[in-house]
Structure formats: structure tokens, C-alpha cells
Amino acid sequence: MTSPQSRVPVASEPVLEFDNLDVKFGTEFGTVHAVKGISIHVQPGEVLALVGESGSGKSVTSMTALGLLPSNARIGGDIHVIDNQVTSMDDRQLRRMRGNDVAMVFQEPMTALNPVLMIGKQLTESLELHDVAHGREADARAVELLRMVGIPEPERRVKQFPHELSGGQRQRVVIAMALACDPRVIIADEPTTALDVTVQAEILDLLRSLKEKLNTGILLITHNMGVVADMADRVAVMFKGNIVEEGTADEVLNRPQHEYTKRLLAAVPHLGRGPQQFGFAQKAVEPLRPGQSLALDVQNLVVEYQRVGKTPFRAVDDVSFSVAPGEIVGLVGESGSGKSTIARCSLGLIPAHSGTVNILGEDLHSIDRKTEKALRKRVGVVFQDPASSLNPRFPIGDCIAEPLVVHKVGNRASQLARVEELLDAVELPRNVINRYPHELSGGQRQRVSIARALVLDPEFLVADEPTSALDVSVQAQVLKMFLALQERYQFACIFVSHDLAVIDMLAHRVVVLESGAIVEQGTRQQVLGNPQQEYTKRLIAAAPVPEPGEQRRRREERYRLLAQLGDERTELKLN
């Protein structure tokens, strides 16, 4: 076993090696060259992080190692898993190799597990398929595997179904499945992207102990630079099918050589640096003028979801906060904390069970339809998923003009002029007016969503995770643009996000939520700089920063905090 602190891998045979790998896909519109002759390798007991944004070919690369690409792919070059030459294997040999020599950890644990099979059954299946253990022996091994990945009461868990486990536990089960046959190398494709930060930190701890205790080689695919800083020994940066830079984590993250790597790192929002990092000075919020009402005033809000045959589920519990005109308030919390519910409730899309929501001085839930429509004219909204928030049948111009048409503002010519003005404001070329959403990339679509939200010159904007579906470099562009637009149009905004670094960049005030209730609220400096509550502290400690040295220090600090709070740190438990 290698020493846990060894940063330089010992010279030995690589467990996974791509040699001049080249992948092309034949499609309806010609050939797509996804991977253009890359060579990388993973040593035992080493984490190689393959970093890149969407479309860079990183997932395609990992899929070739398992022989899992669709039939329209043409693969060139050599792929070696230990001694196996993957490209020349038949289906039988491939099946034997998968699981035995190389295993995969997928992004979304809910879809990677079969919802109709018990956890234990899914674990024993691969054991039995690969002749590792059968019957009772396999059951015992399944329990042992769950114990190894730190799932409490494994005897009870093997009889449960995936939906009975939390997201983090599910991902642990997926890792246990990957470990079932003692693979020499594990490919983890965005293993923590679907998880909350605190859970992400635990899963990363588990993966780290995996390489330290079992000497497993890990190919970690991610777009998150914080995760890279936390985990990787070496880093390979991929851009449009090429490896543009490769080196140790310290070299790549602290002294990037290639232009793309530099840009990528500059685009990562850094928790603790505030709005200055993109060159914006935050303007102070002007005090309320007499006669001016708050943009949003939420008092004792309770939202309940009715459930058939059960007590209603309380998603938001007694929440009070307000947003002043021209102020950006960040709503942070993990999944299930009720932040999106509050956003949707303040748009009147979900009814409040009790409490009041006043938007621009009027209660959306108790006014008549005409006043409601007039009020909606003054409110804009940006949603999370740019792929689903634009109507796929509307050309971009119609998408942006839709609020104008609904509220019968101006004629066709003036509407068109307004659309063009906003396209300029969100830095899109005017010729996109006649294009359809599917022709644009994710970031471009999100710009369109923002343009649509601003077309009526709203006084209050609700932004529900507007950048969490975007790549870092695109997120940086969109955030910069958002800040510039806010400076120009001076709208008030609630900005929902799970990413503390993003909130740190643009919020004046921060509201921290946990399971529907407010844990802490205050100015950005107070909450993020000097958190008072245990939950906020944990949240901030778990957010990784993209600098290996600093991240190592933060990790130690987090372990101290956990020890102080009486929690155990996650690691592989071997008997």
C-alpha cells in the first residue's frame, strides 16, 4: 500500500492506458470527431482527473474503456485495461472485464440503481455474474461491502430499495457495487455532480480512502475544479477532443501553461473573494424612499404539499425575509431545503398555506385577476434548465417577445426593436431572432431566458438556479452579464443557488435555508465571512476551492470541525 501522502505515483505498470485514442461518431449531419488522438494513463493508487466542459469528449473517453459506446462510434488507437486490449475484445470478454478489472461510478445514483430491485440483490448480482461468490456467501459479502463504504446498519439496508436511501447513501451503494469484484481501476464519471456539497465532501473522502487503502487507480471525470483540487494527483485538461495540458494537480491548478486552462480557472467563482473577482464593485442598496414598497416581503410563509392518505409535507416552514428595491438576496441551501419552493411561491405558481407574500406592495395570492396581470408585468423570472425553459417550437425572437405580446405592449415593430435591444444587452447577435432554441448552446439559451425575463423592464426578478446547468466558463460569462444588467436596470432579485461561491459573487444579503426553515440570514459578509450557525459552517467548510494547497488546508479544517461537532469522517472500513 502506498503512503497516503505520496503525491508522486510510484513507477509501475499503468492499470488504464489510452494510447492515441480517436473516436468519431457518424450522425445525420456528417461525422463528429469527439476525441482526437489522446494518450493518458492511470497508475495504481493514483487519481487522474480528466477535466473539461461539455462537449470536450471526456465522458466518451471513459466509455471507450468499458466498450460502452453506441454503434455509430468508430474507435481508433489502443486502450489497455491492465493487460487487456479493449478494442480487440469480443462481447464475452468485455463482459468479463467490466466489473472485474474496471468498474464505473455514474453521475446520478438514482438512475444508476434499479428502482425495483433490493440493494442487496443488486450487489450480489455482479458477485454471482463474475463467480466471486454465490448464495449466502454473496449475501454476506454484500453486507460487508455496505459496511466498507460506511452505510450504517448494512444488514437492514440490503433489504431496502433505492428510494428508501438518501442521495449520498445511494452513491455509496453505487461505489460499493463498483468495489464488489475488486477492480484495479474505477472510472468515476462526475460522481458528485448530482449531490449536495456536504454529501459531495463525504463521497470524495470515501473515494480518497479507496485509492489509499486498496491501491485502486481512479479516473475521475469532472468539470468541478474544486473537486479536482480536492482529489487529483494528476490532471489532464480536455478541450474539444484534445488534451491541452497535463501535469500534477499543483502544476495545472497553480501554474497553468495553456491559455484554455488559464481561462477555465479564472472563470471559477472563488468562495471568499466576493464580487470583486470579476471586476465589479458592489453598489450599496439605497434606503427605502417614503412611499416606496419593498420588492418582496415574505412574512411567516408556510407552504405545504398535500399527499394522498398522509399528513401534508411542509416544504417551507415559517419563513420571513424581505428584498429591498435594487437588492440581490441570495437564497442558499441544499436540495430539499425549500429554496425553489419559496421562489415559485413568490411568483404565485404555488399557493401559500399560511403567511403572506407581498410583491411590490401587493399580495399576489389575494388580488383579482386584472391586478394580478398588471403585477406580473413588473416581475421577471429565469429558471434553471435552459433546455426546458424555452418553448422548443418558438423561434428566439418570439420567445423573448412573448411577455410583450401577452401584455399587449406596443406593436410588432416596437416589439421587434425591444427584442433587438435586449439581444444586444445579453450579447447575442441579432440574427438569432429566427433561430430555434435547439440550435443554440446551453449558455446562449440561458441568455435568451434572461433577455425574456428583462423584456418588460421588471422591478423584481426571480432567478431560480440560473447558472447551475451551465459549464464554468459559460457560467462566468452569464454571471458577469447578469451583474452588468443589474447595475444598468437596477432590478431587485432573489437569486436561488446551491453554490455558495456564486452567491458570494453577487448577493447583497444571504438567506441560508435548511429543510424549509431559515437557519441564518444577514449581509453577505456576515453570513459567508463569519457564520454563526453550525449548518452554515458545515456548508461553507464543505465547499471545495480550486487550489490544492488551500483545499488541503480547508479539508483538515473540516475534519477538525467534524470532530468538534462529534461527527465521524467518511472512509473505507476494512476489517
Binding site: 423570472v381 426546458s388 425553459s389 444587452a425 435547439h438
Partner: protein
Amino acid sequence: MSNSQTPGSDSYSIEAEIPANTKTYSQGQLVFRRFVRHKGAMASLIVLLFITLTAITSIGVGPLPGWWDKDYTRATAVLDGGRPTIGFFSLGEHPFGQDTIGKDYFALVMRGTQISLLVAVTVGVLSTIIGTIIGAVAGYMRGWIESILMRLTDLVIVIPLLALAAVIAKAASDQGVFVLALVLAIVTWTGLARLVRGEVLSLREREFVAAARAVGTSPARIIFKHILPNTIGVIIVSATLSIASAILLETSLSYLGFGVQSPDVSLGLLISQYQNAFLTRPWLFWFPGIMILLIALSINFIGDGLRDAFDPRQNRSKD
């Protein structure tokens, strides 16, 4: 903020540049491209067009005369036992033969094809409209509106289709072909209503609908402008298939004696009228039978091609 540097214009951006002049495809054009490439569907489209054109032009429509000189109501002397005279390159005097009393069978089959196609297209259009509206309103409104509409749908579904159609058609038997088509439409919209409701249920949770509601769009505009255009694939495919099943339903009804009434004919009625002559004059069965088969098969193939063309999982190249 200037427009001079658009995002994506530098070499290390992952966002593809928006090309200025290259050919772009709307959703509809993409579907059309895929449909044209579906060989079975294109062949079927040609066959169906050929049958339709022949049926219309041969014996004419209403007062307009066609190129075929014989009338489907007038009997002439039976030649050669009424055998068909069609050859590889010639039609002869009676290409499809003559029936038992000497009527020209080609004219009869053409008239039957006209009526069957008319019924089928009318049923297809009407039942699609009914089904779409009921399904969309139920799916979007939810609550008691949905309950009423979907229980109504269930009610129509649980009554055996043929029995229901036969009873209503019998009551309206002397009203003509259009009433028959209306009756068939009233009993066949249910499948589409359920399909559309399902689609709408998932679409109404999409964020572009929430965005539309948040700006204050009215429910009617959301249903008809935002949601329904996105279900067009399901609707068109289902409409095509319902045309094929309407032909078969009309055939069954006419065969049972509840559909088109003599002296008018439909393909089903022709088969039913001459079922006793099958052993002695098999062509009286074969020609309308083959015609039904060709129409139903080609429409089904077209529906298949449309389904493949609308299915985004097929040959998806981006997004």
C-alpha cells in the same frame, strides 16, 4: 455593452459560434428530412396518392365526369362470366370483371374506395380535433375538469366500439356518409385524448410553461400556443393511425350492414354483398379486399415513418 464581440467568437470558448448564413433547420424541417429518408413511408405515400387519384379521376366526383366510361349503378350484359379482363399492359372492357348482375366492378370498387377514403379522412380529422381538445384541457386544467373529461373518456372506452358504433349508426342510417363519419368520430377519439393528456401532463411541468404562467399568460394561450404545438408529433402519428383504423371500422360496420347503405357502396359493403359469390366469382372478394389492404397498410407505414421522424431519439446529432 457592445455587440462587437459576441460570446463564442474567441478560440477557447466552448460555445459554438452562431453561424451567420449557413442553412438552419426548424423542428418541422428536421422532421421532414427524416420522413423523406424513410423508404417504406415514401413508397406508401406514393401508393396512397396513386390510389386516391385513380379513385377520384376514374369515375369522377358528383357531376364531374371521369375518364372511365362506365357507371357503377348501371348493369350491362355479363361478358365471359364477368371475369376480370385486366392484363399486364391493358385494362380491357371490364378490368375488375362484372358483378352478378353485370355492373362494372372497376367502377364499383373505385366508388367504394372514394367513400371509404372520405369516411376515413373525415373520421381522422374529427376524432383528432375532439381527442386533442379533450386531452389537452383535461391534462392542463387537472382537478374536477380532468375527472369529468377522463371519466367520460373511460365511459366511451369501456363500451365495445363496434357495438356502440353499430347502435348509433343504425339510428342515423339514412342520413348519408357524413353522418356515418361523424358517428365514427364520436366513438374513436378516446385513444388520442389519453395520449394527448399524458403528453400535456408532462409538458405542463416544464419550465417554459411555468415561465409563461409567471408572466401572466392566459390558460387558453398556454394550451394552444405553448403546449399543443409540442404534442404535434403524437397528434399527427395518432391521426394517421386512426385513419387506418377508421377504414377498417367502416369496413366492419358495412360488412355487418350498419354502415354505408345500398345503392351507394364502400369497400366493406362490396365484400359483404358478394360474400356468397366468393367460390364462383373470387374476384368480387379479391379486388376490394386488396384495396382495403393497400390503403390500410400504406397509411400505417406513413404513420410509422412519421413516428420515426418525430422521435427525437432517432439519429439525434446534437443537444
